[in-house]
């Protein structure tokens, strides 16, 4: 191989590159308190059944090492099964079953392989490459946390729990001889496995992403609500659905409604969930306010390069924005001081000193200075740990603002009215999975 020039690769930066004011830690902690074990990318609950079935097949035919080694082995063992199942989902789509492969990880590779098998009249096998790194971005990488959260597998070994075994029984297995089922559980031997097209089509009808039967959906619903917090959220969502329906996109107003419903669920009150929602709302409002000023500084430095920041601070809109920062900082500080839940106070701890500094800023200029100081702290690693990264925007000779070329902005930020959320709180994917399994009523066709 000849030497080559490396590619520009700006994506995949650490949290400092998408979180200029260091709010990610607080967001992560609050999101986990609200919906533990749910992520923004787990959207198709049938993956849980498929993984349980794959694990059950593997456990039936192989012996695994104890502890963490066994965990790694199990995670690898399900990969050929996943690839075979991906072919089945594509086959189901080919048969005209709508949404049969909707949300399938690696759908492009599976489709390409399926078309190739069809064109060459070759028996479908799991011997094809799906995703660049299936172990990281396929079923295991995406849904393993949900398996643990749903109490379907044991955390330390990956072995199926009794609920996981029950769920596995509900998932149809491919029509294969026993020796092929054994090979399917072994990544080194799985390339010997193949199926007739008819058998694949038959399996596809029952196993695709939308084909779960009632018993399986019931068990999936149980898994999704296995955790008390998730169960309470599901109940509150159901009540919201019945009253005014659920929003397509969640904003502050929707969260307020959720909080209202949670207040009527005794278990939710005991778990402190309404207070968690309060914490989210207050944190989001503060973060939105300071972020708006930060982005305004980026815009000003881009459009008015060289001009003193004092000119920026004369603008009415900017003074309103800095006032909003102080107002929300005060509310944040007061909330944290009066909150009796240690877990919530700990969750938002990383923003406390920042809120305090903004609350005590006596002028718009001080608000700006403290926002830039916070940004510098985040970038320098004092917040998340590490060595200095470049600031997005900083002072030039203490007067003018100078945004780094990559972070220049052509438009000013809108006023932080406290209506929108700056982070996703995983409610949309959770609702989608609840609907799939009739824990929440399904939407009528045409309504998303």
């Amino acid at each position: 191989m000849l030497p080559f020039l490396t590619a520009y690769d700006p994506l995949g930066g650490s949290s400092g590159s998408i979180d200029p004011l260091g709010a990610l830690q607080a967001y992560g902690a609050l999101a986990e308190m609200l919906l533990p074990g749910v992520t923004t990318i787990t959207t198709r609950s049938r993956y849980l059944s498929m993984l349980c079935a794959a694990l059950a097949n593997a456990e039936k035919h192989r012996r695994f090492l104890p502890g963490a080694s066994g965990l790694e082995q199990r995670r690898r063992a399900v990969e050929p099964f996943e690839r075979m199942w991906a072919l089945a989902c594509v086959a189901a789509l080919d048969q005209g079953i709508r949404l049969a492969a909707d949300g399938l990880r690696g759908v492009r590779d599976a489709t390409k392989a399926y078309n190739d098998f069809t064109r060459r009249s070759k028996r479908p096998t799991p011997d094809f490459k799906m995703l660049k790194y299936q172990s990281r971005t396929g079923a295991v990488g995406t849904y393993w946390t949900a398996l643990i959260g749903g109490e379907l597998v044991l955390d330390d070994t990956g072995a199926l729990s009794s609920e996981g075994l029950e769920l596995a029984r509900e998932f149809p297995l491919p029509k294969l001889a026993e020796k092929d089922c054994k090979r399917l559980a072994d990544p080194e031997m799985a390339h010997h496995v193949s199926m007739e097209f008819d058998d694949l089509d038959e399996w596809a009808e029952e196993s695709n992403l939308v084909a779960a039967r009632r018993d399986e959906r019931e068990q999936l619903g149980d898994a999704l609500t296995a955790d008390d917090r998730r169960d309470c959220i599901a109940r509150a969502l159901l009540q919201m659905e019945k009253s005014e329906g659920l929003p397509e996109t969640w904003d502050a107003k929707s969260l307020e409604r959720l909080r209202g419903e949670l207040n009527s669920v005794e278990r939710a009150v005991n778990l402190g969930l309404p207070a968690v929602v309060d914490a989210i709302l207050i944190t989001e409002r503060f973060h939105e306010a300071v972020l708006a000023v930060f982005h305004t500084l980026r815009w000003w430095g881009t459009q008015h390069a060289g001009q003193s920041v004092e000119d920026l601070l004369k603008e009415e809109g900017v003074r309103r924005a800095t006032d909003r920062c102080r107002e929300t900082a005060q509310i944040f500080r007061q909330f944290r001081e009066s909150c009796d839940q240690i877990a919530i106070r700990d969750a938002v701890h990383s923003l406390t000193s920042f809120a305090y500094a903004i609350d005590h800023a006596t002028s718009a200029r001080l608000v700006v200075d403290r926002i830039l100081h916070r940004h510098r702290q985040v970038q320098s690693g004092k917040i998340n740990g590490g060595v200095p990264k470049r600031d997005w925007v900083s002072y030039d000779n203490g007067k003018a603002l100078r945004p780094s070329p990559r972070f220049q902005l052509k438009k000013p930020a809108p006023y932080a009215a406290g209506k929108s959320l700056t982070h996703p709180y995983r409610l949309e994917p959770f609702i989608h999975m609840l609907r799939e399994n009739d824990v929440l009523p399904r939407l009528k066709r045409g309504v998303r």
């Binding site: 020039l5 995949g12 930066g13 949290s15 967001y27 060595v387």
Partner: protein, 248 residues
């Protein structure tokens, strides 16, 4: 090897089933946060995001239980030490300037009973420091070479790289580094001599050996008895006076 030009991709396992067993790198500058949270995390397959720091650290430490990682860096090129896993051996070099960027990676694939099935190694030589700028922003030039498996890369190149790292880290007396280099050497000794393919590098040299080596290579391919190599970087009293070597 994949055609990806993303530098970080060259640190990922060469195939499914392989896990990183040993990682040795030399660099002038190092950004410790980048190294741990991006490069090493990617190389080890850590799934937890850094936004969930506790889970991330826990997973990273678990993976480092079965992986040796050592970084030799120039003390002058490091602005500030940061919190890093105690399992990573950081070796500051403060005599001669350490400018070379050599990475040695070894992956292992195991049988179900834990015994070693096979190992693969990769040598990466280039211009990129272990920093986000080096890996993501700058134009950097690199060449990765694989050893083991079906690869026929010249073993001598790998031996030279191991020896270079050994010499750089000689004063450090790090037992982990010594152990890692011994393992690399043991594995290298099991390889065939190999032969460079048309586009493959044939030899690895240090900076002071570049010109003599070019002369030697030139002599092998050309019947022109003498060539002058001119550098653009020297300037004399009347404009530019070239740095000239006669290569025969």
């Amino acid at each position: 090897m994949d055609k990806s030009r993303r530098l970080i991709d060259t640190y990922l396992p060469p195939a499914e089933g392989f896990v990183l067993e040993s990682f040795v790198a030399t660099t002038y500058q190092v950004d410790f946060e980048f190294f741990e949270e991006q490069l090493l995390a990617a190389a080890l397959g850590v799934r937890s995001p850094t936004s969930r720091m506790r889970a991330f650290r826990s997973e990273l430490e678990r993976r480092l239980q079965t992986t040796d990682a050592s970084v030799l860096y120039d003390l002058r090129g490091c602005e500030r030490l940061a919190r890093l896993s105690p399992r990573i051996d950081l070796i500051p070099i403060f005599g001669r300037k350490l400018h070379s960027k050599i990475s040695l990676l070894m992956w292992v694939r195991r049988e179900p009973d834990g015994s070693v099935r096979d190992r693969l190694m990769r040598l990466i030589v280039g211009s990129a420091n272990l920093t986000p700028q080096g890996f993501r922003e700058n134009y950097e030039c690199i060449v990765p070479m694989d050893f083991g498996g079906r690869s026929r890369s010249p073993r001598e190149v790998l031996n030279t790289a191991i020896d270079m790292v050994r010499r750089i880290g000689a004063e450090s007396e790090s037992p982990q580094l010594k152990r890692q280099l011994e393992l690399f050497q043991t594995q290298a000794d099991t390889l065939a001599d190999g032969e460079p393919a048309e586009d493959d590098p044939a030899v690895l040299v240090s900076a002071n050996e570049v010109v003599p080596q070019m002369g030697k290579s030139w002599a092998e391919v050309s019947d022109v008895p003498r060539k002058n190599l001119q550098s653009s970087r020297r300037s004399g009293r009347r404009g530019r006076r070239p740095l000239t070597h006669s290569v025969t």
